[in-house]
Symmetry: D3
């Protein structure tokens, strides 16, 4: 009864949580594979229920789920999906987390705080993930929070590429604070532009209150491209206004993760903001796009390429270096 | 500089998450200790932030948090609180989870489902809890999902005690299904009443759809006290109506966990339901109490007693057996 | 020296412990593979010694061993076999445990008891198993005691199939207690028969003393098919006599695991017992079969099919649903 | 309600398995504490059931259980006792294993063997032990199989002390093989006697077959005291006969663990064996003592002293060095 | 024999590795306790051997060992000391690592690099440490690499305090790169001075080659106090020369960890360097102090205070906030 | 985009640390594969930095690194290499450790010592190794210190083979102490020679001081071949001189691991030593070979064969038994 003519049990199975199904479908389209069949629902009592509706025994499972808002819902959904896949005997489970929520809680700001970014890494590992892929983490040290292999990608070439095709006159790259100088230098090198740095100070609970200290470099009469990793409740937009106060003629924002909560969308309506260029690691519904003022570039080709290379055991870093899709440093 | 005249570092520190702070305060009042100072907030982007605002180094920390609706929010809040306490060098961390959410997902109903109740146990252990206390778990095997010590309490004596003081004429204890017969027997023994059994069948996603098969035992002309562990979207209330259809004159419900979501409160307005007697493991806001028709008994004295005994290393099971506050079997 | 023309290292290697070698050989026969060469002996001092006598490096190893009586001997033998296979560099180790001993100790009946079914799961995982297969667990939650994948099969279609081919006149399916109602419903649905329920109460040490409370449903003048998961020292046989007392004309027993210890075989001689239909998850020696009164059906085809599908990464649940060999619910 | 006048939760609780209850009681007598109340039974189906019958919450629990024959029964009993104590919230669990079964399976003799002594160490740790105490391990490296603290004691001073009080004329210490030379030297130093060495070769399954190669040192006309760690099925007794063949006038045996199985007792009846001096790490029933020819010395004072020192956080090694009860080297 | 009049087993035991014994002794002097007796040696074959020469059973053990150069020697020595303490039954083991070597390898600079700072955290945890204390980590996220409690202290108030007592005219605080701006702000706030920022770029293997890009802020005619966490082979000193090139009159360096290897001491001889102020987290031998030009302040009072507070379960963060010895942010 | 025409991701990737690169290159030559590209350097501050310079994603990685002197450097280098390979997504990581440093610290000689050989095993496992290969471990129980598969090889057939080709007249095999008798027997059986045993006693710190007690067997007028596992600072050479004192005419030494530190090379110059025959598990630089007196045989063919068999899932023990390259017993 034993024969060799059987399926090798090594197909790509691609599943999406409910955080960004459009992104997952786009990835599937690029890879030419259908979305894995899964039923996800929320009961009246707010508990999530999941059933995977096709066999994944021995397969190479990829789960796409950003842990953006609602962060706790999306995270628990991811954890339960991983548990389901593990108990269904997947050969390997890779969590593709385009936006890694809780990433900003990566260290203690004062005594008796959690390190939630580490806790989240431990929870993902406990649930049974074998590997993690994420994009533009708030701190690159988060990669070290995992002992399972983690591929840390960057969307900078995608965002910078947009400005290569749409040259901004009198442009200057602006780093929003000291921690982003290295990323700003990537933009500077790709776009061959001057660079300036805003010096901000974090305070308040969880360091979420921000105060501008000063601007190093010249922005007067310039059109800054202010870069950052996340725009949540609007800090980069407020910083853009400070650039206007300092003499800038208008501001472009180039930011990987468009979390866009609280007053952010309202702030965006300011005429001083020319355009906000982001990726779709976090879905941006039409009503938040302000008729095109928010330009959403797709991260799907990058993620599709990574999934392909992981599945086929090809180098991730090598190709990206060639294509200038380098990792953050 | 080394002296012996120092604090022994073994105080009870009692903290509450945001799921049921009134219960936690009631426990603190009984124990005569103030609530631990903690700041919990949710950022615009939906992430939870926690800071413990007093030293707990070397102390015996108890965290009260039901994982009722919103289940994922409350669970993540619990996990982050545990992580905070661990990193703040608590000597021992006990998670008091009066209502254990995801408890009904304790086994696979079909292939490729998660076992979320086990996943939750693993997450709590990973976050750093040293011990867990919970009340009337959906399945007693959940106790075995933990390797850390777990005290599994029951509210049956509290609920049955209410009917001892408020005798119902022509009463009969009704078990809602086969799985609850043993608990029904506890009521029967305490109240010295006859017993009947409803035979229901679960189907649908996650086994949440229920169909009545038949009633074993006589309820005609009687006033059933229908018992259960959870009333969520209203299944026990629907079963009460079936008892009316079978000839009952009116129905009391005695249920530990008043999750009360979806159509449950509306269903409760039926004149056939005389009273729903519950505990405060899940908070019941005033508008859901229907002017007193929902009677909420407090689990706080039981939990205060357990915390006291845990802290002072006294037997939990012994005293409860004496006081007939036995564990479920 | 590196060539591609080498064995892929992915053969099925099937080993048997000493608990039920006939079953293992039957499985091997169906799969068309020889039994793996292994030497197992017990020294004078009662310690077990094991040596695997062929290379299993990189192979897919299946170990068949029920942990039936002598339970501790068989369990330790299983653990040592797993350790041997791990240290001999097996690629994957699946423990096929047709009868999972200690399964009835799945929760605490009172304070200060072990949860031995969980302990056994932890021991099996510690020894190095990658996956477990078992049949008709005493409680389905035991599946959640493992974090490694576990396939939980059922013998109900095999047992019910026997009665499909051998129709019993005036038959009624009887569930021995509330916990088995769902399984009884499977029989009822396959055989299209009425159903009754016996209400028993467990007490004594480890809940092994049983008292009949009452019978719900009509058995007078009927021939009950009393179902259960285990017949050990004879409780189901005693319950059969109670059915006779209640008016039944004779009783068939349909039980997965024929542990048959203590007075069980003697009790079986009663003329009220027409037939005991079991599987060979636990071996039944000829002298216990009472000249054919104990009918032993083979679980081997089911286990062979599961091993085949696991090895070839095919869905287990899918096919079983098709063939009505569904998992218990 | 919080007061300081409570029990500190730090009593010694001493429990015994069924392997050597007399030894445990002797230890309790020396320490002046009663045996912990525990109910241990074996069901008809051969499974062990345990219940601890007094509160041990927060206490310092010591479990005395040799894993001598029946080895698998005694080991599983030990593991279940540890699991029970852990779930009953003991503060610290110390397994006192006077005779560590499976100790001779401490390395692979050939390919595809287990390392059962390591497996047993892992099982004990998994079950929840915090610390282990054992006596005269077959290989001292077994101590390294544990990561939890392990106190490795020796009975050599007790055995040698017997010969100090009962001087043997023309005595010579004989090491049974190369591996025991260091232990033989301890005897030689304490008793100030000459020493000889037997050179034996192990072969067969698990290395249990033994062949004498030669004797180094003079035994002609002497009365050897042949030392060893274990006498199981009689190898040391057979070696004693070889000493007679080589010219010895009679032989004393000084051996820590009297496993005494198979033909051992029969072999002991030989007039060439003058006396077998052992300890009670393994119980020796009256019928095996051959009217006093087997002299059993008690290890209880040593174990009582160790328990006392562990509980009171006093050095174990320090005192033993003083009293020449040194660890083996 | 059981009495209550015994030592509580909770003394501070302070041990020093060979990395910085003078610091450890200074700590012991402040705490008024003798150094724990330990024998550490290196064999001819370069392996380290350790023996603790007094009982530490049940005691609160603190091990002082920087993992400065020779980093691998000092790290292995720390790991073996922890293993020794664990096997000797210490109640709690705290690793005091004033300088955390490999801290700069906290993330991948490119593909296929290790994250050695995480590996080191895992090794320390595996060896058996219960808690870690360190000072001015290269990245604060390293705290999250541990799941055991970790107290992250800062020497900034000690270093800044020196300049409070020795006011420098025309001083300006200079941050050496973007990553140190927050620490520079601490100095600025304590000393009430202006601040400037050097923009450097890391490249080469492991990012150890550094190139100055520009200076933001005015240093002409000023005397900069250039701050940093580590001076190893001399980068800060080279940066000081760049400040001179930019018009500074002379430079003070305020740096926590004086690793001082390679050409660093030679570079320090430059007349442009007025003073290098450091702590003794890494020992500075007399010949490297250049006749007082290197000013070494002691971290011992801070560490003694932390040990005291940890042992007595008092808040660490609370007092430090009061005394402005805040944690880094 | 999904196709099957991709690399299977299962190549041998062979990397060498800096302990014995010549050996690794010889292995690569035999296997016909190039050395994996890796950059290893040591910074001025003594920290090691590693980068793997080719993709190993999904490949079968073998790392060759003896942990000989400098032991701590080589061990840390090995651990960092493993961490690098794990984070670079190797499919399987095998650590080839020809000489296992710290192997002699395999048990406690007295109280409060570490068991460093176990600590090293735990560190290697923590870093992420999946499998370990080593040669002639000091104690065979070290194999049990690992739970990951470990292949324990022996160089005895290689060393004995040399003497088969170069027959020594009047030769006698001499075991240096009791612990090596079994290995000596291997030589005796292969070479068909008589055997003698030296009885030595270890004392001092870590048992590194050695005293000769006596010689069992005749060496007068003979030419002993003294065997051992390690020659470090020269103990076997000193023992050879004792053999001369006892009447031997000259001595050959046959020792697997030529650590050769301290006075060893000087001692070797004695005319009584005819030849020291070793393997290249530890590199022997030309100046230590004394013009050919130290004969170095290559272990590379054995290791190449093992790597080949591991990669192709073929039995390791089987072939070695055939070729008399048996494992030690």
């Amino acid at each position: 009864m034993v024969s060799a003519a059987d399926s090798p049990g090594n197909d790509i199975k691609l599943f999406s949580g409910r955080a960004n199904p459009e992104l997952a479908e786009e990835i599937g389209g690029i890879l030419g594979i259908p979305m894995g069949k899964i039923h996800i629902s929320t009961f009246d009592d707010s508990e999530i229920h999941i059933q995977i509706e096709e066999s994944i025994r021995g397969q190479d499972v990829f789960i796409v789920q950003s842990t953006c808002q609602p962060a706790n819902e999306n995270l628990m959904e991811l954890l339960i999906m991983i548990d389901t896949a593990r108990r269904a005997s997947a050969r390997q489970i890779t969590a593709i987390i385009p936006y890694y929520g809780y990433g900003r809680q990566d260290h203690k700001h004062t005594g008796r705080e959690p390190i939630s970014a580490k806790l989240v890494a431990d929870l993902i590992t406990t649930a049974g993930a074998d590997r993690v892929v994420s994009v533009d983490l708030h701190a690159t040290q988060i990669q070290g929070f995992f002992n399972i292999p983690m591929d840390h990608l960057t969307a900078v070439p995608i965002l910078a590429g947009y400005f290569q095709e749409n040259r901004v006159p009198d442009a200057v790259i602006v780093a929003p604070d000291a921690g982003r100088v290295k990323v700003a230098e990537k933009y500077r090198d790709i776009l061959d532009l001057p660079m300036a740095l805003m010096n901000k100070r974090r305070s308040g609970i969880g360091g979420r209150e921000v105060e501008l200290l000063d601007i190093m470099g010249d922005v007067t009469g310039k059109i800054p491209i202010l870069i950052d990793d996340v725009v949540a409740s609007g800090t980069p937009i407020r910083q853009a206004e400070e650039l206007i106060n300092a003499g800038a003629k208008g501001v472009y924002l180039a930011i990987t993760h468009p979390v866009l909560v609280g007053p952010a969308v309202e702030l965006l309506k300011s005429p001083n903001i020319i355009e906000l260029v982001v990726t779709n690691t976090v879905p941006v519904p039409e009503e938040k796009r302000l008729g095109g003022k928010v330009k959403v570039l797709s991260i799907a080709p990058l993620l599709a390429k990574v999934i392909w290379r992981i599945h086929h055991n090809q180098s991730v870093s090598h190709v990206f270096e060639e294509e200038n899709i380098m990792f953050p440093v």
